[in-house]
Amino acid sequence: MSIELRHVSYVYSEGSAFAHKALDDINLTIEDGEYVALCGHTGCGKSTLVQHLNGLLAPSEGQVLIDGEDINGDHVDKRRIRQKVGLVFQYPEYQLFEETVAKDIAFGPKNMGLSEKEIEERVRRAMDHVHLSFEKYAHVSPFDLSGGQMRRVAIAGVLAMEPSVLVLDEPTAGLDPRGRDRILGMIRDLHREGHATIIMVSHSMDDVASLASRMVVMMDGKVAKTGTCREVFMDRTLMDQAGLGVPAAARLCTRLREKGLPIPEDLYTTQEVHDAILKLWKEGGKC
């Protein structure tokens, strides 16, 4: 399923003294099966953009097309769109509300009018995806779980609708390293094995570097650059302007090259730099 944004602009509080243009003529296509990282500092418009992807916000100008269909067209069923494009908000655990984990996850499928049997199967599958045992947790109150577990329940609630595109707004914010690795591993599996299209908003360039197939960098409501992580990280001027931290491994490469070491300039993961340094060491090192 492809998503296309054509000349999308969005103005908050249009016509009032507080009018603010959050998106400014965005053109962007996301193809089926991509893992896209959406980056940029606070206020650049990322969260506004993701709310356009399933019709929560309608553009002030321009169009959002899903598989060629304008989702804000006159006769489009928004519910159908929201089942196809699942949106996980920031701190989604704040939206948990049911008495048990299973009931909370079943909320979406229930509204889809599915049979009891289908609903339970979906709850089981969704819990399996987020690595929460159905037997152990289905009948527990979500409010008795740890922060990381609550977040996984909230994500499972979106997964239970079985969307083909999953949009996550900073899914690891506030989690400890273990919680973060679990969530990122789970998203990676959904992408690789479940063939879902992933659009992830992230502030962590190190997370992005190891996972995303493409980066979209936003600045002042515009798409400033899109490309592979390698291409984007190479553009240091842009990274600085967009207020994004370059991964530590990429910074090390720059420093080592300044010292005259023949290290390729486009490395950005710790593993790549590790291999490059060892290679130089084995060749006897030279400046």
């Binding site: 500092h41 606070t42 206020g43 701190y91 740890s146 922060g147 990381g148 914010a173 506030g174 989690l175 400890d176 390293p177 273990r178 919680g179 502030h203 190190d206 207020g243 994004l244 931290g245 991964p247 530590a248 491994a249 910074r251 090390l252 420093r255 080592l256 010292k259 005259g260 070491l261 710790t270 730099v273 590790h274 340094i277 060892l278 130089l280 060491w281 090192g285 030279k286 400046c287």
Partner: protein
């Protein structure tokens, strides 16, 4: 700076409900005035419980805690302790109570009954330290997360505490907001000798502290300078924690026979050591 500890935790245990597992087990530690102490630990390790015990929000079920010589279990000192040991929490939106920045900073002072003229002076100073003077008349909801946290810090500062306890105060901020808040805390520590207890998930933040305590399962698992703690890469991973990227790279290079010294934490240090070995 004297060497008398301003925080003394002696054999402290804490249990939320009788009959359940203790969250803290016989924990002892001291913090010296002027120290910048980082506390690391995964979710549920007990580090936030420890923070809440330090300013008397919780009382120990065993052992005792002295803050500037005052016992947190002594009811008469509760308010004095909270004034000496100010606390900043995780969520910037949960800490703002007023509709104007300046009034929010005034909140604690009004409750203390500080005279008007002194109050004005203290608020001005606090806002200046966190560089929010120009936003004094702003509505808090118009501020960024980092700015809101700085307002929260100003509110605590205005109470003239000796110790600042920050419980994951950067967890909900973006990288630039995180930098702003950490910079303010380091400046307070450096210039005013403020004692800082900095609870965090970010290894890069802990790397800038004077000392790190790693809490796991209600006990202190590791303690030492950032160099000492982050050299123990395998142990940190066992505790479900990371080490800064450069410490992890140094460790994996060493394991593959590249003879780097231990204790590398930053890109600068790594650059220097790699050059020593390769530029001959």
């Amino acid at each position: 700076m004297t060497d008398n500890p301003c925080v003394q935790v002696s054999h402290v245990s804490y249990t939320y409900e009788e009959g359940t597992q203790p969250v803290l087990k016989d924990m002892s530690l001291t913090v010296k005035p002027g120290e910048f102490l980082a506390i690391l630990g995964h979710n549920g390790s007990g580090k936030s419980t420890l923070a809440k015990l330090l300013n008397g929000l919780y009382l120990p079920t065993g052992g005792n805690i002295l803050i500037c010589g005052m016992d947190t279990q002594n009811d008469d000192d509760t308010w004095n302790i909270r004034q000496k040991a100010g606390m900043i929490f995780q969520n910037p939106d949960n800490q703002i109570v007023a509709t104007v920045v300046r009034e929010d900073v005034a909140f604690g002072l009004e409750n203390m009954g500080v005279p008007h003229d002194e109050m004005v002076e203290r608020i001005d100073n606090a806002l200046k330290v966190v560089r929010m003077t120009e936003r004094a008349q702003s509505e808090p909801h118009m501020l960024s997360g980092g700015q809101k946290q700085r307002v929260a810090i100003a509110g605590v500062l205005a109470m003239q505490p000796e110790i600042m306890i920050a419980d994951e105060s950067t967890a909900m901020l973006d990288p630039s907001g995180r930098e702003e808040v950490l910079e303010v805390m380091h400046r307070l520590n450096r210039e005013k000798g403020m004692t800082v207890i900095w609870i965090t998930h970010y290894m890069e933040e802990a790397a800038q502290a004077d000392r790190i305590l790693v809490v796991s399962d209600g006990e202190i698992a590791l303690s030492g300078t950032p160099r000492e703690v982050f050299s123990q890469v395998d142990r940190m991973r066992e505790l479900h924690l990371d080490v800064p990227h450069m410490a992890s790279l140094a460790d994996s290079l060493r394991k593959d026979g590249f003879p780097l010294p231990s204790g590398i934490l930053t890109v600068d240090e790594m650059t220097e050591e790699v050059c020593k070995l390769l530029c001959r």
